[in-house]
């Protein structure tokens, strides 16, 4: 069932376009609320899917209704009532049917219902990102349930066959039902960890799209858009969480540069060489606004720090020591919060650019012996750059050669070779 495509795929016309738009914009909310009523993921999803198919036929015949979202909601609910009447395996079936029938007889949904609908989506996010599901399942289920992507699109984005992705999603839904993974926003002490888990899933979706080196670029770009949409949704539903805003800022500031990251030949373009006129000013503005909002809470976190570093990078030119000093401070804080050799390397580089190559080399020294970084090309490229700035040309030469030897990417290797040659000439 979940292998079916969304409405509108491969069709045109106003009805199909309206159905496709409704699918993207309304599906998650309609589904989330229906799940609360029927208590069963698959049944609710089948009902919503049927409603969209009914919409396509009815809207072609009778025209697109004014409130297409309400049309879908009512149709999906009636379909759920039908399905529930037939499906004896659902627990509390009689009570659930009665509640749905009561709801169906109300003329207008009340205001309390409107705020409950927002809560439904939040509950569903926590269910889809539950730690009892494995990470690939969390990512797929979140995209399928809360994003606007079809199973086929998700499969293409993650470079797996559609039936494989379909099975992954079905298995996850079955575990939710069989193990009784709750539809609930975690309470009190559990919440911070679980919310970080949700943000991690969203960031993983973004990175999958952003760091795409192969595959279908168009679909990969959609992953970035979906992650940003999910990021906005989490901010809307949990507006007092600093890290949710930090993550949204981070994604927007990265995504703003996506057009400038790749040149006409599909090669990667480093930040300092990017054509800044290709940057998306609106995204940068929205990203900076989100970052300001995050920082106001006064509770720093890894996403806020990374977003702040990215924001400074957008402003800083190569010789801007002030910006590099700020970047160095932020990397220092990030290293304390979530220590990793890569963060330490970035810290050393920033310190080197801000406070002189010797200060940077001092921090970089211990990393040269770290087995985790033994084959990490950027370590030797950074080492070479700092040695060059410190005037140790022989050392720089050796480090560049090592970096070139470790580089798997032709474009990157060409750039390192270019730097090595400048070294020899200069």
């Amino acid at each position: 069932m979940s292998g079916r495509n969304g409405p509108g795929s491969g069709m045109a016309g106003p009805a199909a376009m309206a159905a496709a738009r409704a699918f993207r914009e309304e599906r998650a909310a309609v589904l989330a609320t229906l799940i609360r009523y029927v208590g069963d993921f698959q049944l609710a999803e089948d009902a919503v899917q049927d409603a969209f198919e009914a919409a396509l036929a009815a809207w072609r015949r009778d025209g697109v209704p004014e409130n297409s979202g309400a049309w879908i909601t009512v149709t999906a609910r009636r379909r759920a009532i039908d399905l529930l009447r037939r499906d004896r395996s659902v627990s509390d079936r009689a009570e659930r049917l009665a509640a749905l029938l009561r709801l169906d007889q109300q003329e207008h949904p009340s205001m309390t219902e409107a705020s409950a609908i927002a809560d439904d989506r939040l509950r569903l996010i926590f269910t889809c990102c539950h730690p009892a599901l494995d990470m690939p399942a969390r990512v797929a289920l979140t995209l399928r349930t809360l994003g606007g992507l079809t199973t086929g699109e998700i499969a293409r984005a993650f470079l797996v066959a559609e039936p494989t992705m379909g099975k992954r999603i079905v298995r996850a839904k079955r575990k939710i039902a069989d193990a009784h993974i709750p539809y609930r926003v975690p309470a009190g002490e559990e919440l911070p960890d679980r919310l970080l888990g949700v943000l991690r899933v969203v960031y993983l979706i973004f990175n999958e799209g952003y760091s795409a080196s192969d595959g279908d670029r168009l679909v990969r770009g959609e992953l970035c858009d979906e992650a940003i949409r999910l990021g906005r949704l989490v901010c809307e539903l949990m507006p007092d969480d600093a890290e949710a805003w930090g993550l949204l800022a981070l994604m927007l500031l990265h995504d703003a540069r996506s057009a400038a990251r790749v040149d006409g030949h599909g090669s990667y373009v480093a930040l300092q060489e990017q054509d800044r006129s290709l940057w998306d000013r609106d995204r940068i503005r929205e990203g900076l606004r989100a970052l300001e909002r995050a920082v106001r809470f006064g509770s720093p976190g890894q996403y806020q720090l990374q977003a702040a570093i990215t924001a400074l990078h957008l402003r800083a030119s190569d010789g801007d020591a002030t910006a590099w000093a700020q970047i160095a401070t932020l990397y220092g804080a990030l290293g304390k919060l979530s220590p990793s050799p890569v963060v330490e390397l970035n810290h050393a580089a920033a310190v080197g650019f801000a406070h002189g190559a010797h200060a940077g080399l001092e921090l970089l020294g211990p990393l040269l012996g770290d087995p985790a970084l033994e084959r990490y090309q950027p370590l030797y490229a950074t080492h070479a750059e700092l040695l060059r700035r410190a005037g140790d040309l022989a050392g720089a030469l050796r480090a560049y050669e090592r970096a070139i030897g470790l580089s798997a990417n032709a474009v990157e290797r060409a750039e390192l070779e270019r730097r090595l040659e400048t070294l020899a000439v200069g």
Partner: protein
């Protein structure tokens, strides 16, 4: 309320080498966890298992019964005991699983028990994964 089985996997120890005091060190913790689960009305059953050396695994393949000495999978951790708890949902079961002393040096696997109504009726095909 659904029932969950908590399977306690502990690192295998050589009983002969195990110090007597070591063996009893966690006892107050076990008593505390078990008693609080009983008082909360969640405890359905629990018990320790004999050492993994006593395990026998049975498989029937093409009508032939194969009996093998040992547990289902030979790993560094072995099934050492179990609890059956009546919980509202998986989160509650996971919460109690984390309270088991075994969770600290071994693992606790949490499995929902299948209720009678969840067992497919004869002739009724299980939902197909497509």
């Amino acid at each position: 309320m659904p029932e969950y089985m908590l399977l306690l996997y502990a690192p295998e120890v050589d009983e002969a080498e195990r110090q007597q005091e070591d063996r009893w060190a966690d006892m107050p913790l076990w008593l505390e966890v078990t008693e609080s689960l009983r008082k909360a009305g969640l405890l359905v059953a629990n018990g320790p298992l004999h050492s993994v050396a006593t395990a026998t695994t049975v498989r029937v393949r093409d009508g032939d019964t194969e009996v093998t000495d040992g547990p289902f999978a030979v790993t560094k951790e072995v099934l050492a005991g179990y609890y059956v708890l009546d919980c509202a949902d998986l989160d509650e079961a996971l919460h109690h699983a984390a309270r088991m002393p075994t969770a600290r040096d071994g693992s606790v696997e949490v499995r929902p028990l299948m209720g009678m109504s969840e067992i497919p009726a004869p002739g009724q095909a299980p939902a197909s994964p497509t």
